[in-house]
Amino acid sequence: MVAQTPIKTVQAAAAIAAESPEPDTDRRKRRKWFGDARGQALTPMGWVGQIVRWVLLLLFAALFMYPLAWLVAASLKPRGEVFDNKLIPDTIMPENYAVAFDEMPLANWIGNSIWIAVLAAVLVAVSSSLVAFGFAYYRFPGRGVLFGIVLATMMLPGAVTLVPQYLIWNQLGFVGTNVPLWGANLFGSAFYIFLQRQFFLGLPRELFEAAKLDGVSAWGQFWRIAMPLSVPSFVIILLFEFQASWNNLQAALIYLNTGSQEGYTVPLGIASAMTKYSPTNGGQGDYQYVMVAAVLVTIPMLILFAFGQKSFITGIATTGRKG
């Protein structure tokens, strides 16, 4: 069960595709929605328009950033203040972080999540690349139909296969382990196959013809030519799938919920912590520890984003194509 609906992934792909930096000259040449028609120096009225837009953008930026800033602040507050709206806590308690690790098996959760996400990402990236290579370079009867089916599966809602996949994993005896969270990734995933195939089709065929003449086997052509060249899109798949796996709550609920707390992933762990501290369940309302966990689960994603933006720009620079 690949963690993310293709839909979200397509969105993310399009999002990343648009991350490409335009040089300033482009930006200046581009016709704005309203404003100066020929990208010339701004008139005073144009400046007023620009400033109004910046103010609007700053306002939205503040709205978008407030919850994140508040989260970091909340993770440092004592129990009585965790609900308040101050971004600078009255009482700053860094020890919340240490206590949170005592209160919950946070280290186990993070370890499990990292291990599963890395495994899921590497497996799906390699298998999807293999399949994409087959679709891109080899002619065989039924190729068009089969690739059509690949694309069709992108539209299949997860709800249809949720129950039978559980029963399949149950028959195989893997319920209660984390195998179902990455096992299906061995077989590739439609969206990534599509992405890699697009990339492979953009490579010059002559490379492979020449290798063939030199007696390099198909297997060798894949590993020694196609893979090194497709590093940029390979990295995109790694990043997407890592994020998808990191976010995957439903599969963890279904397959890990019966096991011990130590075997949880971060999403499942935080979900259980939200309940544990809830006053309706006899908890004390120590939500600051949940906030600590939320900060810790967010940081790797922000690191990934900083790193991912860069790798993608490199990808665009080397291929000259957007996505």
Binding site: A14, K32, L56, F60, F140, G142, M155, V160, I254, F305
Partner: protein
């Protein structure tokens, strides 16, 4: 695709080369074929069989049920409730998402400096894991002491009991969804950047004002992206699960009001709380039919309005 007729005249080397190529191709795609046969096609057939039976997990036995599970879809009032909730959420969430995403994209597209910085800022919430988002909004949206209501109180508005009042449960989830709207925004941004600026220049010479330019140029030129986003967001809205589960259905007790009982939540409860796999499978197929129907309707409507580059 098939072996061309002219090659059949001289069999041997040529054909065997083709065959070898075909075999290599099949070997490369074999992981996907196996996965598809087991986890997609196999699972779908399995699901169909189970939906026509009473399945007992403990004993792994299934009794034929005929259409009983499907009849229950129309008899169980909670199916209707959850379907109505889901539809209501989709109708509420999608337009807001589209308007906010397009508005932000147009703002970003119209500033001469700093667009990259703001795009990153708007994108950070999208990188925040759902579980972190849900846990912080659990506190932010607290009716009595939450930061959002404190903020509203500061400007003289009495905020609602977001997570308790049934009327505000769905808007709460919409608010969380809107916070992560950057994915949609970036697709709009890419579309906006592809609008040829000559069009605007010509329009300006003709004396078209900003609204007119938006209506007659921007909107038609980005209609492809608009259609894509509406379709994708609708399909996603119909499968809403994570946020609703984390905020309202974490514990086994049925404490949550029916206002947050979405279709995917009810399906999950039937499958993994009641272990009624037959009924849950039937629910899965109903959702499949609904999503396919909605997609087809949107494609049909979209084809009348979407402007494609190739039609010039």
């Amino acid at each position: 695709m098939s072996i061309a007729a002219k090659d059949s005249a001289k069999p041997g080397r040529r054909t065997s080369l083709r065959r070898r190529e075909a075999i290599a191709g099949y070997l490369f795609i074999s992981p996907w074929v196996i996965g598809f046969l087991v986890f997609t096609l196999g699972a779908m057939i399995y699901s169909l069989v189970i939906s026509f039976s009473f399945y007992q997990l403990a004993t792994d036995t299934a009794r034929p049920a005929g259409f009983a599970n499907y009849e229950r879809l129309f008899e169980d009032p909670k199916v209707m409730t959850s379907l109505a909730n889901t539809l209501y959420y989709a109708v509420l969430a999608v337009p807001f998402e589209i308007v906010l995403a397009l508005g932000l994209a147009m703002l970003l597209n119209s500033v001469r400096r700093g667009a990259g910085f703001f795009r990153t800022v708007f994108y950070l919430p999208k990188m925040t894991p759902t579980v972190a988002t849900a846990s912080m909004f659990l506190l932010l949206l607290n009716g009595n002491q939450g930061a959002i209501n404190r903020g509203l109180a500061a400007i003289g508005i009495e905020g609602p009991q977001w997570l308790i009042d049934p009327a505000w449960v769905k808007p709460s989830i919409v608010l969380m969804t809107l916070w992560g709207v950057a994915g949609t925004m970036v697709i709009f941004l890419a579309a906006l950047q592809n609008v040829p600026r000559e069009l605007y220049e010509v329009a300006e010479v003709d004396g078209a004002g900003p609204l007119r330019r938006f209506w007659n140029i921007t909107l038609p030129m980005i209609s492809g992206a608009l259609f894509f986003n509406v379709l994708v967001l609708t399909i996603a809205a119909f499968q809403i699960f994570d946020q609703a589960f984390l905020l309202f259905h974490r514990d086994q007790v049925q404490g949550a009001s029916d206002a947050s009982l979405f279709y995917a939540i009810y399906l999950f409860q039937q499958a993994f709380r009641q272990f009624d796999f037959g009924f849950a499978s039937a629910m899965g197929w109903l959702l499949f039919v609904i999503i396919v129907a909605i997609s087809l309707i949107q494609v049909k409507v979209g084809n009348r309005f979407v402007y494609y580059e190739s039609e010039r």
